[in-house]
């Protein structure tokens, strides 16, 4: 009977629901084996797309699209370095959650 967050005023419901949406968006971004692999890989050192691509053995556009989703979700950021772009994980909640899930 108790414990559910969405039972207060309409304002609370709106505010709370936004938080669920925000966090669900982040989770959706990493809820894919390739993207999870990319994030975990990036956690052990910055890396460019070509390296990721070779490791995962996927077409370049596939990797680029996954990278793009992670970037849109605010989970990774890229810094251009000449021809390459180096990506790193910038969302602390996601960093901790991934470490937790993999026992790293």
């Amino acid at each position: 009977m108790e414990g559910f967050p969405l039972k207060n005023s309409a304002i609370d419901i709106e505010k709370d629901f936004k938080k669920y949406e925000t966090i669900a968006e982040k989770l959706k971004a990493i809820a894919h084996p390739y993207r999870l692999c990319i994030v975990r890989g990036l956690l052990s050192g910055e890396c460019n797309v070509t390296t990721i691509q070779e490791c995962l053995n996927l077409p370049q556009s596939t990797v680029s699209q996954h990278i793009s989703k992670l970037k849109s979700a605010g989970i990774i950021e890229g810094k251009r370095n000449g021809l390459e772009i180096c990506y790193r994980v910038v969302d602390n909640d996601i960093i901790n959650a991934v470490k937790l899930l993999f026992n790293d």
Copy 2:
């Protein structure tokens, strides 16, 4: 150049990839605002479907389908108690990850 998990032998690649798939499955199960809300709600006390349904203000079948996905993913378990079924979160990784993401 370093840090990506899928660069060793074929066997390692297979084994590692399974882990990414397994964890991605769990994440996908909670990567939805309603399901995230259900899980977080259940974390503050067991609860039957009717209560959840009233709190989320969704059709009964919608809630039931979300419950079903969480159950299939091994994240929650239900125990029947007369007419009702009481659900609780049983996956410790998910429990900790959700707490972490919500700062609970």
